[in-house]
């Protein structure tokens, strides 16, 4: 299974903030994509309102997911494809291993897929002695470096050309170079060999279409087309929610996906795959398998507060505008999904307590919802997660994250309902704060147990006189 390191959020975030290279790369990424995507929505023939329509369509599909998935599976089988429904990551991985064994697969090429990161497919294949190559250039770099992706669509943004140059020199045994076109060509050459020699290709699925019985994959590099066309066997893995009912729905979602992901009107390659090659066709895989994955999604589906999260099409637009992601980068989130989408979906998939810092770390500024191609209300769900952390929740198995905090607020709520007590407390605080030695009109450090507040910021001292007392005296 894939490693989950959500507990290290705070320490990883600190490291990221100090990393100047990463800070520049993140700022640059947001400058390019964040604005470009908003502009793309404005230029849609239907206008940016298409996002709202798409939200409706997604919700309708999610609420009828049983029918939609049965239709998808039936249509793919009609085309000669095989469909496997996997309850969890382990079941999906086992199925892939079984297929690989049956076909005596020794080399796999992999198209970028977050869901296979989620279930740790690579490691499982490698452990069973199979050579697995990432083929997206960014993912290939990350794999050579032995790291994990830091952005859903730009996995290697934390690497400089010098990093890549030394990495290639070391791992591919070539002279050191730093020119991106040359480095790209070197990877092109190395991966071409991998594509041509591979027995099996794996991919994700951006948006399937149930009524026609196809998955669609979207890429700019062409690596997914290579991975799904050249090897004998193709396995696609999709989160169970990544499906549109009709072509008409697929139309708007595909257009919004390209805009959200990379501010493009259309990605370079979109492939519709519905089954293996037919008789007399010259190429394409001889077997096509689709793995539909639950892995905790039905639990999200069952909770009406979070059902909306299943509308997500994993375009990563929210990463490109999030002020928190801009500073802490993708690795801090400790799982396949980073940024605002990760802050909601990761706690729901791996445990709310375990990943609590992810939802506590966001600002609730709402930029993620504004840029979301399907207008998902992420801030609302971040708040809902925080409520669960404050109050505890049996259905999700959440224990209150901080009992002291709850006690404090109970005391506060009792106090502010007792006028005399409140006035007394304010008076005491106004006198007591002199001991804290405000500097430049700000208090630098509060005493325990409320010192946490000033760990990363200053606080303004209370005014010498309260508003009420000034009002009573008639001073202006």
């Amino acid at each position: 299974m894939t490693k989950i390191t959500t507990e290290n959020y705070v320490t990883e975030a600190r490291k990221a903030i100090k990393n100047q290279v990463l800070q520049r790369a993140l700022a640059d990424l947001q400058n390019r994509f964040g604005r470009g995507t908003a502009e793309c929505y404005r230029r849609l023939p239907e206008g940016p309102g298409l996002r709202l329509k798409a939200h409706e369509v997604r919700m309708q599909t999610v609420e009828n997911l049983d029918v939609v998935l049965e239709t998808l599976a039936a249509n793919i089988r009609k085309n000669g494809g095989q469909v496997f429904f996997a309850e969890d990551g382990q079941a999906a991985v086992n199925y892939c291993l079984e297929v690989a064994q049956r076909h005596k697969v020794s080399r796999v090429v992999k198209g970028k897929s977050m869901v296979s990161e989620e279930i740790g497919l690579n490691d499982a294949l490698i452990d069973s002695g199979i050579d697995v190559s990432e083929t997206d250039l960014g993912e290939y770099i990350i794999q050579l470096a032995g790291e994990t992706p830091s952005h859903i669509i730009a996995p290697a943004i934390h690497k400089t050309r010098d990093d890549v140059g030394s990495l290639f020199a070391e791992k591919l045994d070539i002279p050191y170079e730093t020119d991106p076109p040359r480095l790209t060509w070197i990877a092109r050459k190395a991966l071409r060999e991998k594509f041509l020699a591979a027995d099996m290709g794996t991919s994700g699925c951006n948006i399937a279409c149930a009524e026609t019985g196809h998955i669609t994959t979207v890429s700019n590099e062409g690596n997914i087309r290579m991975s799904t066309t050249l090897p004998r066997v193709h396995i696609a893995i999709m989160g169970m929610e990544r499906v549109a009912a009709r072509l008409e729905d697929h139309d708007m979602l595909l257009r919004l996906l390209c805009r959200g992901a990379a501010a493009q009107n259309m990605a370079t390659y979109v492939s519709y795959i519905g089954g293996p090659r037919c008789a007399h066709q010259a190429d394409g895989p001889q077997e096509f398998h689709l793995v539909v994955l639950d892995n905790g999604r039905s639990r999200i589906l069952a909770d009406e507060q979070f059902r909306e999260m299943l509308c997500c099409i994993r375009c990563a637009a929210c990463l490109n505008v999030c002020p928190v992601y801009a500073k802490i980068g993708g690795h801090s989130y400790g799982y396949a999904y980073s940024g605002p989408v990760g802050a909601v979906v990761t706690p729901l998939l791996v445990g709310i307590n375990r990943a609590k810092d992810l939802c506590l770390g966001e600002t609730l500024c709402g930029a993620c919802q504004d840029i979301c191609p399907v207008n998902i209300n992420l801030p609302r769900m971040l708040l809902a997660l925080r409520t669960k952390l404050a109050e505890g929740d049996t259905a999700w198995g959440v224990t209150p994250a901080d009992r002291k905090e709850k006690l404090f607020f109970q005391a506060w709520s009792w106090m502010i309902r007792n006028r005399g007590l409140y006035d007394l407390a304010v008076k005491l605080a106004a006198t007591g704060q002199k001991l804290l030695a405000p500097k430049d009109g700000m208090i630098r450090r509060l005493p325990p147990p409320i010192h946490g507040w000033t760990k990363a910021r200053d606080i303004k001292p209370l005014a010498a006189q309260s508003f009420i007392s000034r009002w009573k005296k008639g001073t202006k």
């Binding site: 309850e87 960014g138 370079t268 519709y272």
Partner: protein, 251 residues
């Protein structure tokens, strides 16, 4: 594979949605059974498109092709296309190895270009992805050894400069993927406006919907590209480094 497994999976979804396991299979408006007025209008528009309309679409296509490094050339007739391809073959060098070879779809339009004759002058062999050609591996090797792949396209969407290709016998998918240069020869009547028009045709047009999406449909919008190293745009990541559309304007 076990359908019991599937039933369990679907039942879990039904449970999550609060539906009884025996819930009726279909919600009325989930899958459209009848053509909408909007779709009808789209199909009407495509049917009544004049030569002038198509030329306007071609202009849109050329405009959209610029920013994505896709080269569109208009050719008066078949002969002009043959000349244009001959020129590309003369001017471009192979990326892998040093022998120039060309591979092409077995398709009436491509065969009418008479490429084997035209390129024999330069000593460049042309292979076709012949349905009856012996052995899949031979063809695969020929495609790998070729530096230019020539195809046509089922449709070409003007607003995104996208080639749409469905898979058929004789029309190998890898010809537009593995060679370093991809040339698509497109007749003017194959140009449509956008994705909406394409989907309307594939789903509702009596002729096109019969074939439908097929088991593999591919969109190609320009050459392969990546910006994964310091966000520097580089063309030719894995797929073709150059893509040409030769549009035939003759009626």
């Amino acid at each position: 594979m076990s359908t019991a497994n599937q039933q369990e999976f679907i039942n879990r979804i039904k449970l999550a949605l609060g539906k009884p396991f025996s819930a009726s299979r279909q919600k009325a408006d989930l899958f459209s059974r009848e053509m909408s007025a909007e779709t009808r209008a789209i199909l009407e528009r495509i049917k009544n498109r004049t030569a002038d309309d198509r030329k306007k679409l071609l202009e849109t296509l050329i405009e959209a092709a610029g920013p994505i490094h896709l080269t569109v050339r208009t050719c008066l007739d078949i002969n002009a296309v043959t000349d244009a391809i001959t020129e590309v073959v003369r001017n471009k060098d192979p990326e892998w190895g040093d022998k120039k070879r060309v591979v092409a779809w077995q398709h009436p339009l491509i065969e009418s270009l008479n490429l084997p004759d035209a390129l024999s002058e330069q000593g460049v062999p042309v292979f076709f992805s012949d349905v009856n050609a012996p052995g899949g591996e031979t063809l695969r090797q020929r495609i790998i050894d070729s530096y230019i792949g020539i195809t046509t396209a089922d449709f070409c969407m003007a607003d995104t400069a996208t080639l749409v290709m469905r898979t058929r016998p004789g029309q190998a998918r890898t010809i537009s993927l593995v060679p370093a240069i991809h040339i698509a020869v497109v007749e003017l009547n194959r140009i449509i406006a956008d994705l909406k028009e394409l989907y309307a045709l594939l789903k509702w047009d009596p002729l096109e919907s019969k074939e439908g999406v097929t088991n593999c449909m591919t969109f190609i919008s320009g050459p392969s590209k990546t910006a994964d190293i310091e966000a520097t745009m580089v063309h030719g990541a894995h797929g073709p480094r150059e893509v040409y559309i030769f549009a035939i304007t003759a009626e």
